[in-house]
Amino acid sequence: MEVREGTAPPTETIARKTLLAKVRYFGRAQYKSQLSQIPLLGWLWGALMAMVIEQAVGYPLARALGLPGIPGLFGLRIMLTKPALIPSAAAYVLLVYVLPTLVVARLSAPLANRVAKQLLDRFPLWVSLIVHLGLFYATMHLWGDINAYRMLFLSFIMISIILTLSLNLVNGYMGEFSCSHPGFMALGAYGASILTVLLFVNDDVFGAPLLPPALGPFLFPLALIGGGLLAAVGALVVAIPSFRTRGDYLAIISLAFMFIVKSLIENLEIFGGPRGFMNQPKWANLPTMFVWMAICLWMIYNFTRSTIGKAMCAVRDDEIAAGAMTVNTRRTKMVTFLFAAFWAGVAGGLFAHVIGYINPGTFGVYKLSEVLAMVYLGGLNSIVGSITGAVGLQLLMEVLRPLQLFKWIVIPILLIVLMIRRPTGLIAFTEINIKDLLQPRRP
């Protein structure tokens, strides 16, 4: 896969390689001297500058190019609604995003390389990581700040990432097939909402707030954790019967659990029943979401590399052998499942506080299809894969929105073709080495 530096491989080997390798090959051959010396830090810095430029001149430029406003998703949505505007949108993307990023990244490359090197040499890895994440967040925030649509889009992407990752723990790393994630999400959403509404909001049903509402945003993480714990307790109901043996029982029991949760919530009149539960304060703003997503990524990444994470992979590959090697298989599976359910619950809590309204119908079979599609599209056993899957499917759903009904024909067909071409998903069983990613690039 890796093309050796300096020597160009013969063309017939390239023809057999994947698209990614081809792109990589041409990228190296043509622009090697220019672009390969920009470290990740430089790219992020360039992107940040591009967003600053968009903030400053985006709207007038878009008007000048004949666009109705700043294109929502890099002009991708305009492609299907107003095809005549494609050249303008492309010009906008080129002028505002691509060119500034490239120019700034290239110009700042020497400085960025030095900074990246210093960060890695002088400080522990996490300092460098936090600097990168901070830059990434700033870029994202400036991009999302343009309009509410982008903000909501980013929020949904981050919720999907948490959800996909946590399901990947069960379906990918552990090799079971769980269908109950919408149920856990519902438990987390309702649990967190009840806490926040009961404690901080003057609600018709729950009465006056028990605590001063000013404290709310600070105690909001506790509410989310409460929701996550509720989901984990719910997961116990699934885990106890289904992890006594291996097999497809989890699929059935978790499916039954999902229906039970949905139906139970529909019957609880105090929480609105089928009409839904509203009045949640919209505290899940972009920084909160980003921090939670980062914590989730960090914890799940560490979980998969921990002893229990390795035990989990051993259980997936051969449960009997793992048991013979003193892995407590049942405990491993239970812990993993509860951990995954916790994060699904947190995702649900965030979801409730983004929209400010939830109803049990949201957490049904369609949500299940969506999450499963994200996991298997992105790739099993891979954090990068899960992120790819979540972002990819959300982006696809937004871009194809103008197709309306036909969206739900095009997307499944795309997914079927993809599953047949790559049955384990786009990026499966691989992980990006973070340290390599943050390294300075030498020319």
Binding site: V237, T245, G247, I252, A256, I260, N267, V365
Partner: protein, 309 residues
């Protein structure tokens, strides 16, 4: 609950259970033979109901031309047979498109393609035929008989009777014919058995085709009992039948049918005793309990090391 209402509920439960049973048979066969979840099966049920609708409407229109005298019962029989025949090809198509290319890779991937094919079938139906609900033509006038205090309708009797007949026919097919033997052999080991000259692809297609034919029968019966069709009718009933199929035990035809009827009984009686909104909670809790103590279902083998995702 008086005895009369009890028997009334039993009758209703038998009717509801026969839908579940017929759909569960398709899930159970695919699961038994190929060890795959066919998540598109609920939507094949929907497609079957629509095919039944078009066939019967066409036959009714043809009969009204007056060229050949077609009595209503003959239309019904022809509808059932034709729709089963046509829907079996839908099932084989699903197998060819979504399952055959993925044979040998992760089982979960095939489950995802099944799920996606289901969505395509639903949305395709909605896009092709519009959101208007279709009314299934009434082929048999519903006649009520009073058996003491219990009201029995001829359609209910017919649905339950035909469902049991189809279940038994399938059971006999699997037990007695060469094809059935091949299916059972495949269920036993689908790695070695193809080496013995049993055509894996043909058997897989047959399994899907048979299951889909039964789903089509269930669809027509559903159309007779509740004559409104919509593109999303297959989702909920399909997932419930899936639960029933697993409850019956892997690859057990009679087990799946039994679990389907049991699910019907649980749902009807829960709705009769408790408020009907609690139906799903209690029904699934009972299933959860049963699976806790009998995780491999009624007639399944306890644990197989071959079960891998």
């Amino acid at each position: 609950m008086t005895l009369a209402t009890f028997f009334q509920h039993v009758l209703n439960a038998l009717q509801l259970g026969s839908f579940y049973a017929l759909i569960a048979l398709g899930y159970s066969m695919v699961y038994g033979v190929l060890m795959l979840f066919n998540f598109a099966h609920g939507d094949i049920f929907m497609v079957g109901a629509y095919i039944g609708f078009f066939v019967s409407s066409g036959l009714v229109a043809f009969a009204s031309l007056g060229i050949i005298a077609l009595p209503n019962w003959l239309i019904l029989v022809l509808t059932i047979l034709l729709a089963m025949f046509l829907t079996s090809f839908v099932g084989m198509l699903v197998e060819r498109v979504g399952y055959r290319p993925l044979r040998g890779s992760l089982r979960a991937s095939a489950a995802i393609t099944g799920l996606m094919i289901g969505i395509v079938l639903e949305t395709g139906n909605l896009a092709l035929l519009g959101a208007r609900r279709r009314k299934f033509p009434i082929l048999i006038e519903t006649q009520s008989y009073q058996l003491g205090p219990v009201t029995v309708t001829n359609t209910k009797i017919m649905i339950v009777f035909l469902s049991l007949l189809l279940t038994l026919a399938l059971h006999q097919f699997v037990r007695r014919t060469k094809w059935g033997m091949a299916m059972r052999a495949m269920a036993y080991d689908f790695v070695v058995v193809p080496l013995m000259g049993v055509p894996l692809n043909t058997i897989a297609a047959l399994t899907f085709g048979l299951g889909s034919a039964l789903a089509a029968a269930a669809g027509i019966f559903f159309g007779i009992a509740y004559p409104i069709l919509n593109p999303y009718m297959g989702i909920l009933i399909g997932w419930k039948a899936f639960v029933a199929a697993i409850l019956g035990g892997r690859g057990s035809i009679l087990g799946a049918a039994l679990a389907g009827f049991l699910l019907g009984f649980i749902e009807i009686f829960v709705a009769a005793i408790f408020p009907s909104t609690l139906r799903d909670v209690i029904a699934y809790s009972i299933i959860l309990l049963i699976l806790t103590f009998r995780p491999h279902g009624f007639f399944g083998e306890p644990y197989s090391a071959r079960l891998r995702l």
